[in-house]
Symmetry: none
Subunit: 201 residues, 4 copies
DNA sequence: TATGAATGAGTGTTCATTCAT
DNA sequence: TATGAATGAACACTCATTCAT
């Protein structure tokens, strides 16, 4: 009763994206063959080309959709917290970032590790989106600094450090492991906010 | 009439390792072909096999040598700082880790991103070495906590967070860029130590 | 713009088997390259893999089909001669064996000489089939012996000797040579039956 | 205390021939690599070329030496039996042929199965020697026929049949198996002589 | 839209052979 | 004579992609 062989209609593309996500996450983009992918979907390799244009295009699509979704959800968070002070906005950012990266660990992982397999145009586009996302955090840090709420050597270095630390969660977090998502958020939120606090140099 | 071009003798292996490091860093292990590698070294592709046993073995060799060197240098640091209190040992760890990861950014990057291309035995060995390295940091954190010097939610989460943040430096640091290595170390050292400080919850 | 040269569809597999039979017979399995084979068929080497799984699998297929055909034809002979006495059944066996080995000399030759290139499982299967075939001859000899029609030192040795002699015909017989197939059968039939006759020790 | 690594002096060639015989018998000439051979001998692959000129030449040498030895021993037998009548000479031939083929099963096997890997000149030479050997048997048969001692359809067919049967012994005979060499000789000698006997048509 | 058969370039690896040391 | 490093061609096999059906 397993996967329907010879899947039809508009569901096929969704099956391809799902299988592609899984295989690229597990083996890497270069190491995944379209034969594997077709086999996972339950169609012949030639049939893939009724749904994708090239292998690279599938990768771009997966990453682009993920970035769009990241921005869409982030826009909601910002709308809700725009009027708050930097400390609260930073807390909200941390909670959002960790949550998203735990729930979408495969998309996120691919979005970092397989960037170099993108064509130049696609690569530039995704990197630009990532930069834009990073600037939102830098902006929060700078506002907090100018209000005397945060203190750090360099805003970019601090932001990269924070982002790297938070993103790293998707490489080791296990859904039903020793710690809950909330505990991880609390630990990091506390560490980051304390680490930026001005009073104790 | 053979051998008119290319390097000879014991130097060849060193050239292969150097070129392999460069190409794997730039294109990824899967995407690097042995023809590229041989061409970079200036020998025929078959000649590679006078020096390596398999492509995977070259990868393992590069990572293993890097891990051994990491441990060798780290042992020196520990010998120098073993008698100091946790705060000083943490500072020394941060300075060492960042320095090493800036100087050996390619080895470090490969050591993380290409692990999945290792054979199971090699994979296990390298992951075990990495765990051992991580435990040293966890140990410092735990000692500091028991002396009331540090405070954090969970030692492993904190250690992973710190390590990820520090390691991330090798993805964006540029040797002659806006910031010196010392500035980066100072920023992170300050952020980490402040973030772990107990007085301001 | 693809596929301008070479054969299509279900005929290709038959062309591969035919060319494979010829090339393996002429050069040996190890010495035949898939490039030769593809060239003989008129397709690209990669296209072979739309029809075969491995080179060894082609060899196994050729030998297995030949063994199956041998058994199929032999079953007919047995059905026709089952009710006869051993002398007549031995004559029928000799005539059948020589005829088949002359008509299928290439399959037969490969079926002996290339066995060692088969994977262990395939090797065991083919050897078991051959043993089964041999036992039919041994059975005829034993029945004849118990009726006092044949006499020999050891049934297996006699059977192997007879089979080897008869099989050898495929290494030197030339279809339009000095002797007809019937003459060869007569010579061997006479020699074997006389050789087994009890009256003249 | 195994094989001396870096074997020296005139013994090396003998070690190469011995190892070559074993490996070609086990894997076939095409399937044996000079790396395997060198490893078996305990030297480096390049060193082989101080003793052989090409891989094919080693094969030719093994077969030629075997054929020369066959002729040398056969000459002795003929000297001893030249004055006897055909029946006795045939018995001597059978005993000699079976004995030699049992003791030198590997040389004999290679001498048949790897002929096609010889260069044309070498191939012709060996085949000519084999024809010469066969003619001795044909001569015995013809003499016996003209004396009314033997009867057969065609001398060549009979000789090929007898030779094939006797030679086949080297594919299934096991030195310490169910039957002794003498039993095999007796069985075949009886079968052949009876099979050629004129009295019972 | 799915299939199956094709392309042609590419993969890691092995080969027999050469030769300076 | 032995070594180790080289050559260049070859190996079986896989790849992403195309396209008539």
């Amino acid at each position: 009763m397993a996967r329907t062989i010879g899947s039809h209609g508009p569901k096929t593309m969704e099956a391809i994206r799902k299988a592609g996500l899984k295989l690229i996450y597990e083996h890497g983009f270069e190491a995944m063959s379209l034969r594997q992918l077709a086999s996972e979907v339950g169609i012949q390799v030639g049939s893939l080309y009724n749904h994708i244009t090239t292998k690279e295009d599938l990768l771009y699509d997966l990453i682009k959709v993920h970035m769009d979704e990241l921005f869409r959800q982030f826009a909601e968070i910002r709308a809700e917290t725009d009027h708050l002070e930097p400390v609260e906005r930073l807390k909200a950012f941390i909670a959002f970032h960790v949550t998203y990266h735990i729930l979408r660990k495969r998309e996120v992982f691919i979005g970092y590790s397989e960037l170099r397999s993108l064509e130049p145009n696609h690569y530039e586009e995704i990197v630009a989106l990532r930069r834009q996302y990073e600037r939102h955090l830098i902006q929060i840090l700078r506002e907090g600094e100018s209000l005397g709420l945060f203190r750090f050597g360099d805003a970019s270095v601090a932001a990269y450090g924070i982002l790297t630390m938070l993103t790293g969660v998707c490489t080791w977090f296990r859904p039903h492991g020793r710690l809950t998502k909330e505990q991880v958020i609390a630990t990091y939120s506390d560490m980051v906010l304390t680490g930026l606090a001005p009073q104790n140099r």
